[in-house]
Amino acid sequence: MVKMLFVLPLLIFASVTFAQCVGCPEEELDVGCESSEPCGDCFIQSLVAEDASNDAGGGIDLSWTIAVDVAIPDSMVLERLDSGGVWSPITTLQPADGRKTDSGLENGQQYSYRIVPFYGGIAEPASEAVSAVPSKQWIHTGRIWMLVILTLISIVVFYFIEQGKRGKELYIRRIAGLTAVEDAVGRATEMGRPVLYIPGIMDMDDIQTIASMVILGRVAMKTAEYGSPLLVPTCRSVVMSVAQEIVKESYIQVGRPDAYKRESINYITDDQFGYAAGVDGIMVRQKPAAIFMLGTFYAESLILAETGRSVGAIQIAGTAMPSQIPFFIAACDYTLIGEELFAASAYLSKEPKLLGSLRGQDMAKLFFMVIIVIGVLSATLGEAWAPAMKVADFLKQITSVE
């Protein structure tokens, strides 16, 4: 499987290079060779109407070219033929626009358009009328490669999950921040102080918050086992509800439902720095012995981490926000960098299925690393050797999304 991941991009490279070298036509393709009907001295030339591509229907794309030897009109009006057979203006166009999409139309019905140029407020003869029928598309042609890549990643991830389920031993490197979770909770228990868990400032639609909730479940199991109070102030009310359920379930799982305190998981405010002020207040007043800051953080990260440090807490932070990682490294004892945050659940649970998905994730990353190396090399070589640049362009095309 690993070899395949190396070989696949190389095959792509080889096949594209080969295709470019063998039998490729010398002459350039004439992109703008669409035939245009001569239209006398009309300003608008070759007005084209076609069903809007890659949409859910209801749209028609209009494009036109303009005559260079005719005076530019003051304004232009796009007209559509209505059901009564009357041309109705729908919008004003700028001569240089070149294209316009008419949306909100009914699928399957034919629509006709023409453009009327105005000189000094007087309408000149309209362009020739063009028609098109809007329809919905069943596949987004600009995203096919993305679908292929996503399918490939999914297959790799599921392959390794299956390997994990079959009992294959999967190595996972030591992540200091996660190994320290138990020590941190233990320390809080010894000192008789609470554990503070901060799940970031974003809502439940943020994947880092979801990853944080998963870790919260594991941390809550530890605090329930050790009997340490757990405080979870949240910045979003939906996060509060989810956190309450997760912590409650964790306490039930370890047989300590009596120790669960719903009011310890509370909503503070949606306001970023209002939340930072509220959490700082909790730190200063309650002096937690262990602080977890896992999730999405912005400028408040250092305010929280420095205050946590000033109260002498052991601090474990983790975020995929690149700009906040340096602050956490400077002020916290342990920092989970980027993807380590998403690996936490697998690491803490050691479940084979989750470990398998981690291996799959690593393999997918390896695949992209090989693609990047080939891309960089081919783009560099392409400066001197045209086929290599075609490979770079091809890789750019398959990794771009419309």
Binding site: H140, M213, T269, A320, E339, S345, L354
Partner: protein, 205 residues
């Protein structure tokens, strides 16, 4: 059944969202789901407000430690809501006055704490303990000087080197973290959509 229903909802919603990205014809279903999310997110604001009041009323009633702060919270909350509802939020109204004259400076004050914390964290963390740390230290000095006019006054090359550090080594590091994190996001999403990760439902398997 307690687990099956949420797992099924996650699977169906996740698949619809993936599908609508690749199949334009199904976009309306995805848009409906997004509208539902917006409605739920808006309604959750009330959930938060009720919880906030509950927690603080509970603190006052049972004279919990530091309960004296709670009446201030409740008063601030009530005054903002009442003035907003009864007098409107347009410029010149009491709500707007409190927003611009209280909220704005208080928020800015919290943000400005960063200056102090950056200074103390930098003082503690930047130590030339080995050649890599020294390199980091020198880069930090150049960027700090290059981002302010005084850097250009010392040498016109400092802002250029600063911009190069931001555009090249910084960019490489940022991209590495972003690509790694993106792969983590994809794998986490797949684990959740396919019910492999279910500890967020209470750690049950």
């Amino acid at each position: 059944m307690r687990l099956v229903i949420p797992l099924a909802i996650t699977f169906v919603a996740g698949m619809i969202m993936i599908l609508q990205f690749f199949v334009p014809a199904t976009q309306s279903v995805g848009e409906s789901l997004q509208e539902w999310y917006m409605i739920v997110a808006s309604a959750a604001i009330f959930l938060g407000a009720i919880n906030l009041l509950n927690v603080h009323v509970h603190k006052i009633r049972f004279k919990a430690p530091n309960w004296k702060y709670s009446p201030v919270t409740i008063a601030g909350f009530s005054v903002m809501i009442i003035t907003g509802i009864f007098f409107g939020i347009e410029p010149g109204k009491p709500f707007d006055y409190m927003f611009t004259q209280m909220m704005v400076p208080m928020g800015a004050t919290m943000f400005s704490l960063l200056a102090f914390f950056v200074a103390s964290a930098a003082f503690r963390a930047f130590r030339a303990s080995n050649w890599r740390a020294t390199l980091l230290l020198l880069s930090a000095f150049i960027v700090m000087l290059g981002r302010v006019p005084i850097g250009g006054m010392i040498s016109p090359k400092i802002p250029l080197i600063s911009e190069w550090i931001m555009q090249v080594p910084n960019l490489a590091g940022q991209r590495a973290v972003m690509i790694g994190a993106a792969m983590g996001m994809v794998a986490t999403s797949l684990r959740m959509i396919f019910g492999i990760e279910r500890s967020y439902l209470g750690g049950a398997d």
